[in-house]
Assembly symmetry: D2
Homo-oligomer: 377 residues x 4
């Protein structure tokens, strides 16, 4: 994998950890352990089997490389994962592990747990980005500058209003993700064909308990072949990454030598021109956004899943979801590093805005943005 | 344009009308007329100017072809649109038309009005599709059939549960679109650089009145360069079209000759084999979905807009938004025509599901889906 | 259709005609007429039937709107097209029309004929664009300017070398399209399942004659479900449109007020600021490129066609191919209009390139580009 | 990285190695070493400096993780890469390393070297896939089966003709990639702004020698901001992956229980139904294809690069190129594993093709395909 050479610039270490192989395996273990507990609670499997499973899940040391290699034969890592887990279990509990479940139950639930943690991660990054925007909006409420449309000078604006626009976009993205996290991350439990054929009606109650235990919502029916959650997630991440890429683009445009209105405080060096001040983090935010836009289509396309489980589209989701989070985090972090400690050349802004007077309404608009999305007292 | 030869199969006449040139022009006229009224209400322009403008907008006969040809020089149809409109106005009102506004104010607000009507259109189609799914779910609650995963027979399910899954996806898409319509369709009013530099603080009140008059929400700040609304819309349409494409795909798979579990009632003829029963409408739903997925990326990409107005990405939105609605409607209508009066071969379903017993939980799951999303009493 | 209001800025009238409904219908008529002639030549149908068919095709007045509406039932316009054509034929020739062919034979061959003409159209536009680049490269071979990387000033270059880079990209795109046109535009003739089941081995010879008559190549085997040609075409168009978008982007960047190194000669007006000089045609080139990038994915995705004819992906191709040509032409024409009569501020370029000396190798590099791709003597 | 858990099913170990961090670092080392040699040959740097550089490159042990982490600050791994390399060099050679080059020279040339090896890798896989198709085409030349269009039975074909169609697509993809490899993989050497400002006209000769030493072609001019090669590569990979996905899809369709015409010899197990025979490798081929289609757009979009070096699009290419190769290899390998030792149920094919007679022309068409693309004697 070229992940270690090119990857770090396109994500954050925290997000990389949140969607790592280890995080997925922990989520799979949590699914199996809590499923067993929920099933024991409903009398579907014996209580001591659930305990044995919890113990096995708690102590399992799984090797992603080995499981990944063995996953090829079945097109799902859950098959070798369960084999490895069974080796930790007394024989009599083998049949109680993953009872009535199918590999998509485990993987979809794991994906939701991963998404929950990763959105939480993003939420922090987006809050920090919003705070940095809000701070710029407040500080530069009266800093007049040239508004530019179609890349030409139009009428004046203020740098604070520009930052307020960034703030609103970031907060719109963040609150949509937050709402998605609270309402749409659902447990998956349907069994082999999504019909709870083994668990029967008890399966509905098991799913309910499982959802409670995992902090996920309960879906109306199993959603093996209804990928709205996945497509919605892709859309929300595209918006969040886009809000960040917009900030990065604006800073790059303003820091052009001839414009010179802002300067990044920690410029990136160049291999041939060590003194050149590149907005490296903004460039990386845009690169991450570009990659992000390529991860969205497969996640939207998986809506068209065949029958009760897709033959290809679903299997593409796992790594695509991870990549979508990685690249979104990369775009957001790049934008944050870019505007944190941004050096703003107020004099140059005024000079570029020849006819100068900052617009009278800018202050009011900024206050609206800050009232809605600014720092909480 | 090849629109009339290939277009009708990929959309509906009603949606085609809702996003037509004429609809866009009506929306632009409505923007200018209501803007003048709102401005007169705030004393920004004289009341009689507003009346003259309303009269001109009411009687204007604009020719899309001419305007489109003249739009090339300015990269916006609003420039020739205003010229044409001014020719209908007394000289003294010329300067009150579009006062303090910019072409993006007109076009973005028009896009929101178009979206409002088009989502309304889709809402009806999606409700009909949901009702057809609900009816199948109810009628076939106990119709056992083979669940199929990775395109192979897995454990049994019921046709009703399959239809319930369709229903849930369609309703999730519909309700998300409805929520978007109610909360995110905002008026645009920012002036040349999004800073209300001409209207000043009165512009904030004008925007508020304009929003009320047009039935749109009021944004926190002008959103010329914050395209979250557009990207969100693209995401919601992709989900709605995907829910329809999933139904179409399932019917195509079930109507394969060797499977033979459903048959479309109005089969499409073939040029070489008139007797062949093609699921033409399902095929068209999938084709529309394929085109839809191609319209989404430009709409997501426009998040990264330059400065106060994008130099390219925004100008790509107008036709892309129209196409996104067209193809979504096409997918939904294709799916609806497909399952309306679907002939279900219950005996064949049972025969294909060798071990037969429909799963005990299916009925309960279907009831959950119908309670949540079924026909309102 | 919003085609007339927003469409013209994203294409050219000539290309719009080349991919119009009428052009498609002419191509379909040509297929049927020449197929009959080729079949008569092989004794597959009577000579007088071929003559009657040629006469009917020559005099047919088909209405795209009617055919498009009737195409919905069969998911192919060829079914109503043939019905309309048969009404012009004596009864005894009915069965000789479209003999042994299937609707995909007609549509795929028509697509290749459309592509041939449309690539020819593009070839002219690209040659003009290349010539304009070459002229700039030659004229400004010694015009020093700042090279800019990551949007910051790097070492000096010349404007001629920049234009030479544009030239090379445009010509690489053009020659690839030309080679594609000469080698990959193949006739389609396979019959209902691509196996020439009706025509038998004579069908191979008919296909050969048909290819000669239509100026297309002969494929190794029918390619109903092998969409390499379509995917390759999409790739080539993306490259051509991308080469144009790169020029448009560079001009927009150089014409920013603060950079001021070039100015477009026919600036686009603004609705709020009539004096503002927007690079309207460059903006439109970028918008067309954005839409183009959205048409490519469905055309690449159709490689994965089901069995002997796709159930959705193929039906999405027809309008997508037309749109791909439209948007490519729009990008190319926008770039051409942008650099034709571009005003270059040589003094400003030198001033912006503080350390001035144009690089010694620039002249040699430009000569290499002109020797390879410059004006033919 | 979730690469080890989900990655292996979507690529091959050999391709993963060919595009690994280590492969990129080797390519970068080769660039620097051969650049020094070419420069010494032209008298641009002293011969002993070139020897010292070759020695340092030969013995360098670089850690991708460390370099990747340090790459963030400059948005290019070449900066820390050169720092690490300089630590291996005597002080007096420091300034001769990377002399007159820029980081894009190193990375673009490395990308071409990576592409050369990776296409070579793919070529072998595609040849094996073609050979497997050819073998099926020959063996089943007379095996009648139902041709299916729009997923319904149409007229008869033969399984050999279907396999011949696969063969042609695979070979069209392979030969296009091969031609691309031979003609379009060019060295990059332009210096900081692509104008050879440090090397001067000697740089043209250095580039020529460097190209010879590396087995790459010589470009007309430096191509830092002309990304035709990258976009073309993306297009070719999409076609190759698509040809593989088509085979996978067809096998999945034919191996449906109700169709039962083929069976994969090594079925994938299921976590809930160990006896179920999933076409796991075909499913993985489709998943890899889905991810591949998402990598193409960023690579096409980078055509629109800013000025002399892109601020985002280029930086997205490195990992995207690697991923594009990975997923293409995954699709091809999945298809190959799927049809290698495919069990064909000839009787079932005949039975499903009710009216049975295999078409007379099928044999001739298959011979055409085998003459053109079949096994070389």
């Amino acid at each position: 994998m070229s992940g270690e050479l090119f990857g770090p610039a396109l994500t954050t270490p925290a997000m990389d950890a949140a969607v790592s192989d280890e995080a997925w395996l922990r989520a799979l273990l949590r699914f199996e352990s809590e499923l067993a507990a929920a099933e024991a609670g409903e009398g579907v499997i014996p209580a001591d089997a659930a305990e044995a499973i919890a113990a096995a899940c708690g102590s399992a040391e799984l090797d992603a490389r080995t499981l990944g290699a063995h996953a090829i034969a079945s097109a799902t890592p859950v098959v070798p994962f369960l084999s490895a887990l069974r080796r930790k279990l007394p024989d009599e509990s083998h049949r109680h592990l993953h009872f009535g479940a199918t590999s998509q139950d485990a993987l979809d639930t794991a994906a939701m747990l991963i998404a929950s943690a990763a959105i939480g991660q993003l939420d922090g990054d987006l809050r920090r980005l919003a705070a940095a925007c809000a701070e710029l909006a407040e500080r530069h409420a009266a800093t007049g500058m040239s508004g530019r449309t179609l890349m030409r000078r139009a009428r004046p604006t203020t740098f604070g209003l520009k930052a307020a626009g960034w703030l609103v976009a970031v907060e719109e993205a963040r609150t949509a993700l937050d709402r998605f996290r609270q309402t749409r991350l659902s447990v998956q439990l349907g069994g082999a064909a999504g019909s709870l054929d083994v668990l029967g009606v008890a399966g509905v109650r098991v799913a309910q308990h499982l959802a409670e235990r995992l902090g996920l919502t309960e879906p109306v029916v199993p959603w093996h072949a209804n990928r709205t959650r996945v497509a919605e997630l892709a859309g929300h991440l595209a918006v969040a990454g886009g809000a960040a890429a917009k900030i990065a683009l604006d800073v790059i445009l303003l820091s052009q030598d001839e414009v010179g209105e802002v300067e990044v405080s920690a410029p990136g060096a160049s291999s041939s021109m060590p003194e050149k001040r590149n907005a490296a983090r903004a460039v990386e935010a845009r690169a991450a956004h570009s990659r992000l836009l390529g991860v969205v289509p497969p996640l939207l396309a998986s809506m068209a899943s065949e029958n009760e489980r897709a033959a290809g589209a679903w299997q593409a989701e796992w790594s695509a979801i991870s990549d979508a989070f990685r690249f979104t985090a990369g775009a957001v972090a790049g934008a944050l590093d870019t505007i944190r400690d941004l050096h703003v050349d107020v004099a140059r802004m005024r000079q570029n805005a020849e006819d100068g007077e900052p617009p009278a309404a800018a202050g009011e608009l900024i206050r609206r943005a800050l009232r809605r999305y600014g720092p909480r007292p």
